[in-house]
Amino acid sequence: MRVVVADDAVILREGLMRLLEEAGFEVAGLAADADELYALVERVHPQVAIVDIRMPPTHTDEGLRAAKVIRSRWPETGILVLSQYVRPSYALELLSEGTEGIGYLLKDRVSDLEELSTAVRRIGAGGSVLDPSVVAQLVGRRRAADDPLAELSGRELEVLALMAEGRSNKAIAERLFITEHTVEKRVKSIFATLRLPQSADDHRRVLAVIAYLNSQ
């Protein structure tokens, strides 16, 4: 799979390159800011662009804006935004552009080569990835006493969180050591409890769950 990396810190973009190559990706180019990234994407048409959220000139949310530009100009390129901080609002802003081929991960995750390569592959395949800590923040928010979320069992909450991270039923089943069928049952029950419309589509249900968690 062909990827590109954009980060203004040399040490990080080269580290990432070594890791990705170790995991078997083809790193087709490195960029230090958004403009370099656009030129790179235009030239090599990567399947996934891995972008640091803070880049010159303002060092605030250039990565986020770059993601939106790439989404509109090269919709076939997946985007993984890396950030040093967990910010649900950034994640939601990113996902509002559509959940296909979009990911938002904490930078720390890159140390786990397995996790990193899974996430990149999932985004390359059109899936979505949301950092567990973002989901944890969304789920853990203080809620009203009559919130239906309180009615979910512990197991159901785990499934909900994994769903929100963008995992498929199969991945959730593997992670929780249960059958895919059980996962399907739990998902149905969760959607019923939260009064959300059922959706067979993995992508749509991520959005539904996130929107639910954010709105309550």
Binding site: A9, G15, E22, K107, S111
Partner: protein, 574 residues
């Protein structure tokens, strides 16, 4: 004295009327006698009133002089040769007084060189030229057929006498017209309050100069208009005295405004709009009031905003109100009020106590504004500092740690497949960790130097001096530990000042001194560099001053261009 003048005026008037009524010259008679009396007495009377009301103003005496000079002209109607000659010699002197009165009104002083020149010419015409003329004049041929003998006649020269007379008249006409022009131009330049106060005198004066010019012209051409111009002139001349009196009375009336002001303050008490009350009392809507703030040595408005006094060339003038020898306020008002110094001063005296109160209010406002500004700057400085620390952490330590995490992730992967390749990756991770620790150490040093906590200010300054970017001569004598915030403020002051010196001063050496003096910590940082440092170029100094002031201290900066920079902080620490 004034009673004596009044008595003399009565006698002189009666004498003049008697002379006028017995005159052998045409156009004289009972009416002329009455007019003579009214004119003279009105000038002397108005003059005495003005003299009493405004002793410092010359116009009172000038008017009295005009009255007597007017009476003196009636000596020319006498049958005695000497009296006739003296009367003739003085016949135009009253006009000089009159010209002075109109030009110098209302201040009593001539302002410009042109005005002084014009009056000088008038004096020469009325005295020197007149008297020289008399030396050559046979009174019966030149003046009138029935006149007494001219006792001053030295050599009879009819042609010379005639020419001198006509020359004097032409010069008189030109002078009158020129004074008319002066008055018109003065009117055009006058401010509204000035116009208001001088209008009656200025316009009557201008009309009188015009009538004078016409009347003398009439004489030059053997009186084609008969006696009419002389009568018009006499009437206008008489009305001048009344106009002057009217203006003076009006100004006296303004003095009652002072009493009104006192009542006003008494009634309204605290919270009175002093500026508004002063505007009413002085009749100047444009008046502005500034209060003296000793701390910043400036005048400020009641809301605390600074205000500048007009310079000597401005159209507005200021009157500074003092109390116990120290300024408390300044009125910035129209220049016309300058002629009424007395009124402004009495108004200020009446407003004195209230002004002092209001000044304290304004001072409070000004201090509050400065306090708020310095608090805002402190908050902003703190915010900037936090942002800097976050950036340092993000760009430094966090990145190193992420990079270490990546190296370890890579090493983990290598260990499984190719253990030999893992060793260099782990070594790289360890080096990164060392760098991260080093960065963290220097960062925490910047946030709060450990040595300051452990060993105190003296040791921290000592270390600061060794690490500075230029040679530092240390003169530190601190025996005891001081309160933490005082030590921190002094440390960061010294640190910033030495950084500035190393960066901007181009000096090779600096002096860092610190000592305690009677409960006050004094810190001085001095370099012999280029100077020119101030709060304006960069907020660094302002922020340091805020920090020192927040502890009740004071930071003084002396940095003349080319003369080095001396920072001196005094912080209470007792």
């Amino acid at each position: 004295m004034q009673a004596a003048i009044g008595g003399a005026a009565l006698l002189a008037g009666v004498a003049a009327a008697w002379l006028a009524s017995r005159s052998q010259i045409e156009a004289s008679g009972p009416i002329a006698a009455v007019l003579a009396l009214v004119l003279g007495w009105s000038f002397i009377g108005s003059g005495l009133v003005a003299w009493r009301a405004r002793p410092e103003n010359r116009l009172g005496p000038v008017m009295v002089f005009i009255g007597f000079a007017w009476f003196a002209t009636f000596l020319a109607d006498a049958r005695d040769p000497l009296a006739f000659t003296v009367g003739t010699a003085l016949e135009n002197v009253y006009l000089v007084g009159f010209a002075y009165l109109v030009l110098a009104f209302p201040s009593g002083r001539l302002r410009t060189r042109v005005e002084r020149f014009v009056i000088g010419c008038a004096i020469v015409l009325a005295t020197v030229v007149e008297w020289v003329w008399l030396l050559f004049t046979d009174s019966r041929t030149i003046i009138c057929p029935v006149c007494p003998r001219n006792v001053f006649e030295l050599v009879r020269d009819d042609a010379l006498s005639e020419n001198l007379l006509q020359g004097q008249r032409v010069a008189g006409i030109l002078l009158s017209l020129f004074m008319l022009l002066l008055l018109v131009s003065r009117w055009r330049q006058a401010s509204a309050p000035l116009r208001h106060s001088v209008a009656p005198v200025l316009w009557t004066g201008a009309a009188t100069f015009a009538a004078l010019a016409v009347s003398v012209l009439n004489d030059v051409f053997q009186q084609p208009l008969g006696a009419l111009p002389a009568w018009v002139l006499a009437c206008l001349f008489a009305s001048i005295a009344i106009a002057v009196l009217a203006v003076l009375l009006q100004q006296r009336l303004a003095h009652t405004a002072v009493a009104g002001l006192i009542v006003e303050f008494g009634r309204r008490g605290q919270g009175t709009d002093v500026q508004e009350a002063l505007r009413d009392a002085l009749g100047d809507r444009s008046l502005e009031l500034g209060y003296w703030i000793p701390d910043i040595t400036r005048f400020v408005r009641s809301d605390g905003a600074a205000i500048d006094l007009p310079g000597p060339r401005d159209e507005r003038v200021s009157t500074v109100v003092e109390r116990d020898g120290a300024p408390i306020a300044a009125l910035i008002h129209d220049a016309a009020l300058r002629h009424n110094v007395e009124l402004v001063e009495s108004v200020c005296a009446a407003a004195g106590l209230t002004l002092d109160n209001e000044r304290l209010h304004a001072e409070l406002h000004a201090k509050l504004a400065e306090l708020q500004a310095s608090r805002a700057r402190l908050v902003e400085a703190t915010e900037l500092e936090r942002r800097r620390i976050e950036r340092d952490l993000h760009d430094g330590t966090q990145q190193r740690l992420v990079s270490i995490a990546m190296s370890l992730g890579l090493a983990e992967s290598k260990l499984a497949r190719d253990p030999a390749a893992a060793a260099p990756v782990v070594r790289r991770a360890r080096n990164e960790l060392m760098l991260a620790l080093e960065e963290l150490r220097s960062l925490s040093q910047g946030i709060h130097p450990a040595i300051l906590v452990e060993r105190g200010l003296a040791a921290a300054l000592d270390e600061l001096g060794r690490r500075a970017g230029l040679r530092v001569r240390l003169e530190i004598s601190l025996e005891e530990r001081l309160p933490d915030r005082v030590e921190a403020a002094a440390y960061f002051l010294a640190s910033e000042a030495l950084t500035n010196a190393a960066k901007h001063s181009r000096a090779e050496e600096a002096r860092l001194a610190a000592w305690c003096d009677d409960g006050t910590l004094v810190v001085e940082i001095e370099d012999g560099g280029v100077g020119g440092a101030g709060p304006a170029n960069g907020t660094g100094l302002r922020g340091l001053a805020d920090r020192v002031e927040a502890l009740g201290g004071k930071l003084t900066v002396s940095s003349p261009r080319g003369g080095g920079t001396l920072l001196r902080a005094e912080i209470p620490c007792g």
